[in-house]
């Protein structure tokens, strides 16, 4: 039905409106200190209205996480499907993708922290929770797939693709965190530029590691090069 469809679209628009407001408020005050009233005010709605669109505060937070994970997966998958790029080009594109994800919502990691808090789970519908876990695993696996072809070519052969994916993800997380703690460490420099430096170091490390490893596998006695 045209009417039903329009209603549905209207409803989705409201959800987005609330999520945008929530993102802003969480970003400002942190999850615990942000009140539903704050978010409602930011969204120019009443507090009660939010409950028409989200079951509770935790589920609103989880929805934010889900959205960013969807964006992450979309971008990462796009990198994987890029036919015309060699591994170096893919890693460069991956870097850009991750950076865009970070810029889209720098809160992603803080949100995830909140999610990890065991007591939060109780308030989440199991579907939402599962969808989040599914997407998390899927995107890390996709990052792994980006490196997997190189394993066949002999690059990185001493490590499995998933391990490398985790490292890349960890570094990405670290850069996000670094930005968060900038105040404490009183960093006054140019963020973007330092991010570039970090990724440059990682990228070179990755490939030089690959080269060293492939030319002298005996150097690493303790490697477990099995794929999972």
């Amino acid at each position: 039905m045209g009417i039903k469809e329009r209603k549905e679209r209207e409803k989705e628009r409201r959800r987005q409106q609330i999520m945008v407001a929530a993102k802003r408020v969480f970003s400002d005050k942190g999850f615990s200190r942000a009140t539903m009233e704050d978010i409602a005010k930011e969204a120019e709605l009443s507090a009660g209205t939010i409950y028409l669109y989200f079951k509770n505060k935790d589920e609103l937070c989880a929805s934010l996480t889900l959205r960013i994970l969807q964006y992450l997966q979309m971008r990462v998958e796009h990198v994987y499907n890029e036919k015309d790029l060699n591994i170096e080009g893919k890693v460069e594109t991956l870097k850009e993708a991750l950076y865009d994800v970070y810029e889209f919502d720098p809160l992603i990691l803080r949100n995830m922290f909140h999610l990890h808090s065991s007591e939060t789970f109780k308030n989440l519908s199991s579907e939402l929770l599962e969808e989040i876990n599914r997407l998390s695993r899927k995107s890390i696996r996709t990052i792994g797939l980006i490196f997997k072809d190189s394993l066949k070519d002999g690059l990185f052969e001493n490590r499995n693709a998933m391990e490398i994916a985790y490292v890349v993800w960890a570094v990405f997380s670290g850069l996000a965190l670094w930005e968060e703690s900038r105040q404490t460490f009183a960093y006054e420099g140019n963020l973007k530029e330092t991010l570039e430096l970090a990724f440059e170091i990682i990228r070179r490390g990755l490939f030089n590691y690959a080269i060293d490893a492939s030319s002298s596998p005996s150097d690493d006695a303790d490697d477990n090069s099995e794929d999972e």
Copy 2:
């Protein structure tokens, strides 16, 4: 006085006892969801007693952060003072130091997040806050000093030491975070081993970056190689 001294020591022991309990509870539930009652129960004390040793909940949390920062600074300074190591050896030792810090208290980063939340400051005595900021800056600066000598030798010459320090710190943070989000990403592998891989990649990237950069400085047109 023997008596006064013993009392002092007894008091310090209580503080430690409470901090250990708090660390455990914060670790479990997150800062906001952990109640003073929880912590008291964990410490086998009454809630009121905690207030004899810490002004409030925020100051208890900040004290945890301060403790880990003191340990961090101690370890990092030790690396810097190591006379018999070349830069490669120092980086290797730095890696071990950071890893030990992480194991000493994996909460460090989550605590810092909480601290960054602007509204927390109001509840902290300015001395504590300043000590935390002072130590944070000092340790990052010490990490920078570790690389500074190499700048004179021509290594890393296109970047200043502080930028490199920030990158190293970011990666360290990332590894910590990575551990935090392990549940979501359903990683079942060996943490220690993956940490080794990550640092190995960083280390190689660092030095290969150095070599490339020093041999062809013109590649980076936008570098600002001034030391701060």
Copy 3:
């Protein structure tokens, strides 16, 4: 809007309902011993609801004080504006006015005591505090004005009007206090009647003082008959 107006009136009614309950509970238990729960129960509301209408307990108490001061000022001003009365008549009317104020809310003085406690100020919005101070000064000044005309006529000429106003106010306060401590002093008599006696004494003293003073001003060597 009719709707908006009705809502506004409804809101004001709730404030009054809470203040009436608070008056009763404060009266019964004293300010410190009265809990918000007590007041809520008396008002047949939940404790949280009170905070929708008053910022905190101190501000609720201050609002009670403000209300009685508004009534005091209104009554006192009315006495001052009475054209057809000579000074004797005005003092008689003033007596009645003050007595009505006392009956309207016998707590007035206890509330003011609580207000004077320096630490209370911090919890009060500055507007409320200023309004209270403004009204306090205004009503004492208005009482002074009632006597001022008599100063021109030669009555009370050795004292300024404000000093007399303070004395009248002190006696009024004393009568209120007297009622408060009735239990301790085990007075079983008729309050109203004794109040009449007290004011009668004051009134006669006032005028006889005036007469004596005006006829032999030299008796008081140390007078400072300047008006403020």
Copy 4:
């Protein structure tokens, strides 16, 4: 026993020391906001020690009240026993006595307020409570006795002595209160001088009332001139 006696005296000294400290702290912060810790610190003792001398906080407060009542009774009785004074002289001396009492402990009235709070009674030993009530009644009765002789002489004959005593007491209380609320009413004048004025007015009113009343007793139809 000499030893026992010395111990007793030592104990009484401690009680006084604590009461002096309590008076100061109550005066400063009000009863509710003053903590036992505050009082202990002021008395240069530990909080626990206070409980060796006073059963609880309420009883400490009541003891202060008792002490001032003892002083009041002593002074008032002295006035009553003064053989060489006529009624005018006695009233003048009474004024001075009350003023001295007020200066000895301006808190007296605030303390009494606290005492009146019904819930306080539960924490008081019945002996203490009864002693306070006994003394309160006794001093007001003694003030009454001061006027009683004048009743025989025809002065004040339309009123009973107790009623006059209550009025005098009320004015005294009012003057004390007046000092307490000085801040709010922004009075900048000289307290002592205004006190003089107030008592002067009362005194004159009293005697002029007496004269009027004695010359035209029929004016007051509703008088109850019986002594209790």
